[in-house]
């Protein structure tokens, strides 16, 4: 059973983290992340060629995480595989024991390390969510009965501060109608926007795990603002961290405050440590959370 689903359904505030599969076959980095984040997190997202750059597959890395004793959230993008491949990987995921799915569109290849690659986008994230739900109901996307079904806990991505906000919310509602049960959000900065987003999603029965980014350095902030799609660090946050005597410590303090705010409004927090995995216990503990019992 998905621990993440159990916790959310029981109304417990959940913590999820994120690990990046390596460019290569050495799993020791993953292991270190799991050791640091595992005790605090219900589940850990395993990214799928994040930023359209080549990494070990999410499927293999998710399986490795399971073997390391962590609960993975298997991420699938629609960028690299057509509907046949996505579906067979979903079936593979279930046979591997992966129970949580985060279905996302995926960054465009022209922003990644293989800009010559063809972006597949045969189906979109709404379709993928619908396919996973269909597999839970025992059939593939064309309605053929599965010999052995799945029981994925299906999630999508959500952007609480995206403008036009109504359009972003309509889009999220579309995902819920397709079968999304939970959302993990892009990093939030505006508590008010997070609050009304959660309210709107709760009204249709979806759980919201709020994203918190550890803005570890001025360079990180610049990278996010200039290169990362769908996210902007607001000026007042940027000023605060860049202007601090020790930017890294200020980023830790800021992330801790964000986790506290998430506790107030959301069903959980998704911590993206950007390499500062070792500081995550401090951030979560500082916000009054404890390691998983």
């Amino acid at each position: 059973m998905s621990r993440l689903r159990d916790a959310l359904q029981a109304g417990r505030f959940v913590v999820t983290g994120e690990v990046a599969p390596p460019l290569g076959t050495d799993l020791s980095g993953l292991e270190r992340s799991v050791e640091l984040l595992g005790p605090w997190c219900e589940a850990l997202n395993v990214t799928d060629n994040q930023g359209a750059t080549l990494h070990l597959s999410s499927l293999a890395a998710s399986r490795a995480l399971l073997e390391m004793g962590a609960e993975p959230i298997f991420q699938q993008t629609c960028r690299d595989r057509n509907r046949l491949a996505l579906q067979s990987d979903l079936l593979a995921a279930w046979t591997f024991g992966l129970e949580n799915l985060l279905a996302v569109t995926g960054d465009d290849p022209r922003h990644g390390d293989h800009p010559e690659a063809k972006g597949v986008f045969d189906i979109d994230s709404t379709h993928l969510i619908g396919i996973a739900k269909g597999m839970n109901d025992g059939h593939d996307m064309i309605g053929r009965e599965l010999d052995g079904d799945t029981d994925f806990f299906v999630g999508g991505a959500l952007f609480p501060e995206a403008e036009p906000w109504d359009i972003a919310m309509e889009r999220a509602e579309q995902k819920v109608r397709a079968g999304a049960q939970f959302f993990q959000t892009q990093a939030f900065f505006d508590p008010e926007a997070l609050g009304r987003t959660v309210e709107r999603m709760h009204a249709i029965g979806a759980k919201v795990i709020a994203g918190v980014l550890v803005l570890r350095s001025p360079r990180t902030i610049d990278f996010i603002n200039n290169r990362l799609a769908g996210l902007m660090v607001p000026e007042h946050v940027s000023r605060r961290i860049k202007g601090a005597a020790d930017a890294k410590e200020e980023a830790i303090a800021f992330a801790t405050e964000q986790v506290r705010i998430a506790r107030e409004f959301a069903d959980g927090v998704h911590v993206m440590p950007l390499g500062l995995d070792a500081r995550v216990p401090e951030i979560l503990g500082g916000a009054g959370l404890r390691p998983r019992g």
Binding site: R79, R83, V104, T105, D107, D108, R110, H111, G119, F121, D122, I123, D124, S125, T126, H127, G130, M141, A157, F159, A162, E163, P164, I167, A168, E170, R171, Q174, R177, A178, Q186, A229, G230, L231, M232
Partner: protein
Amino acid sequence: MIITKPRDWARINAELDSIGARRVFVMGCGQCATVAGTGGEPEVLRAKAILEQHGREVTGWAIGEVTCHSGGMRSEVRKHHGDVETADAVLVLSCGAGVQTVADLTGKPVFPGLESAFLGNVVRHGMFEERCQMCGECVLGVTGGICPVTTCPKGLLNGPCGGMWGGKCEVLTDRECTHVRIRRRLAAQGRTVGGALAPKDHSKKLKPGSVNLRAEKAAKHAADTRPEHGTPGADTKGGQR
């Protein structure tokens, strides 16, 4: 119309050199490539000059009226038969469709002088934009006349994706997100997106595409003239052909 772009001359020359072509016939196109400013008379003459600079002889040149049209091109090629025959190669300044027509009709080694880019709208003189990918299953009726398959860089049927920011596209950051445009236009018309669009049926667009109106007409005629339709019998069919 089909939008073409100039092809790198280093590639053109390398391909001509690969068969040792010294004598070249140049064919342009009076239709799309003329409008695109890539294969009309000025461009054909420029190509001629460049070929000559590289020490090649241009045996002749022509602008096909519509270079992808086999019937029209048959007479065009016939008109220039001598010049084409004495050439080692034909350089075609048209889209890939035209290049293949010329290849079929001349039997000569034929080389593309342009790159085929997209099916383009002429937004203004000299400004072309891709608005249709000819996907074979039009969704414009439910997307406010804005094609997400083509104008969303990811071709997403349902959006916006997570990269949309301030109503702008993640990939082409100076452009409004296609899905925001669609939703705004529909709203202005008192309409909504409604449910998610189903995944595209790519079997509607299998390669190579082919339409045969003659065969369709013949089949319809055959059906109409069957005895059960009360029209002339099977024996008259042959006579009518």
